[in-house]
Symmetry: D2
Subunit: 175 residues, 4 copies
């Protein structure tokens, strides 16, 4: 089994440069998470962008789509800032024969308390378990990009539709 990680920046990759007294997007942090978790699969990590997700343009999204389409690996995890993760996910819909999962974090991976490892773990499980399609793995849930919003007040991704019995697993049922 092999997973290809594409990174685009976002909070998950924010580091602190003291010389300039500023936080900015640094090296992809997914590498450290994956190494520290001693994963039992092959992987490659490739950086496409290093941006706050609010700065990602339609041109950037076209580039991400192009890279994902050209990628021979069929299991793809994209790390991304949370503010426009849903837009980028939508821009990836329709790529055939690939399971694509977007994730990121609300707190930088370098923090002592962060959701980065947890979210990457969830994305990796999702990209193996789910059929071809595009999904968002955030807050311990798996979402269909067309049925999710970021609730900024609560700082959490939530489903936009709820059904009796199971309001959540829309990603799976879409297929």
């Amino acid at each position: 089994m092999k997973i290809k990680f594409f990174t685009t920046g976002g909070t998950i990759d924010k580091v602190y440069f003291d010389a300039k007294s500023e936080f900015a997007v640094g090296e992809p942090q997914v590498r450290e998470v994956v190494e520290n978790s001693n994963v039992g699969f092959e992987y490659e990590i490739e950086s496409i962008l290093r941006k706050d997700s609010l700065d990602i343009t339609e041109q950037d999204r076209a580039l991400v789509r192009q890279r994902v389409e050209a990628e021979p690996c069929s299991r793809i995890v994209v790390t991304h800032g949370t503010d426009t993760m849903i837009e980028t996910a939508k821009a990836l819909v329709g790529i055939p024969n690939k399971t694509i999962v977007l994730t990121g974090s609300m707190q930088p991976a370098r923090f002592r308390v962060t959701d980065a490892s947890f979210n990457i773990g969830a994305a990796i499980a999702a990209v193996q378990a789910l059929p071809a399609g595009v999904y968002i793995a955030m807050n311990g849930r798996i979402f269909d990009p067309h049925k999710v919003r970021k609730n900024r007040a609560k700082n959490v991704f939530e489903a936009t539709e709820f059904r009796a019995g199971d309001g959540m697993n829309s990603g799976r049922e879409t297929e």
Copy 2:
């Protein structure tokens, strides 16, 4: 969506008691992981055992099975020591209508560098995405309990069977 967590001890829950200068199984650490990850689903956490997994007996396994069978929630994550996780997973096979995922960690959750958050994230995604059955989520992979072993030399869970094209996703294909 709701997930029920059962805890049984193991490395993931090891804490350090300085007064006695010893490490031992403490409070379930899954609570802190889930709280720090700001999860967007309902959950309950219940401790069944607090043991090193080498000390878990057949009677203990019968107890775990009894609790899982009696549990109304259909998505269940069991945290467990890695040494006999496979045995306990096998003891849970055959419970109908429930997706049951076992996970744990190689390094205690309290460590600065640990696979605990990553593995719990993976288990949570797996328990949502997979059909009814019993699975092990370790090292970023999802295993069928009958097709996995713990490689002690490499300290990693690995599949016991490989097939052309995809040696891994046996859990899913078992269904």
Copy 3:
């Protein structure tokens, strides 16, 4: 023994506000460091400013001096941003009968890898061990504010004068 902590902001107190996708000075982090270290002395923590140290004005420094002068406790630790820590230290010179130690960190206290706990530990030892005067505790050293500079290229505080045998312990020898 009692120590009074005054906080003014700086990198040490930088937290991440995801709702606004920005880092900014948050709650004083010295509280968590001191609590986690199970300290065996009385202390109080009081926030005077919450600023990047580049934004601290002469008026701000006058305020800090006023608070330190009015403080009945004779052992005082001031947490401060590193960029103008030396200027604030100089502004506190001449206050009688008080040992005043400034410290901060190059990496935010919330990071998994940070110099915050280490530096606060050093400042607390220095404020007990040294006679009345003003000192800077950074990079594991104790400096006289008139004989130190921040080397931005190396991101380290260093003595501006070296003497044979002991280039460092200017704080102690000043007395």
Copy 4:
């Protein structure tokens, strides 16, 4: 300025070996603490023992004393388990012309929440600021080894004598 670190084991150096499912004394952790704190002085780290401090014998203490006496560097930090740190400190009393500070931690340095960095920071400041003699730096305080005990119930080192005005700074006043 140069500091020599001698390590003897203890909680601070406890790591987890999953293959054997046990915690044991591992590599000296002071190296990582010092590297992460970007210290501005020369240092050497040398391991003398790797023991729980309850297992340290009088012969071991004689060896530590021999090494400290033979060491040309005049500023020495010894990391040690907390249970018998006081005994080892007493065994080092009387070595001329050296400032010797013992420290350790109540929680292993590898833990996410630990007093290790804090205590090592304090020891490093103390070894610079204090005159020749033997001191214990624990819980943010500096103790004379003859006037301290480990309170096991509270898990804290505390002075055995208190005086009006300053019950604590016995290390300094001893001189």
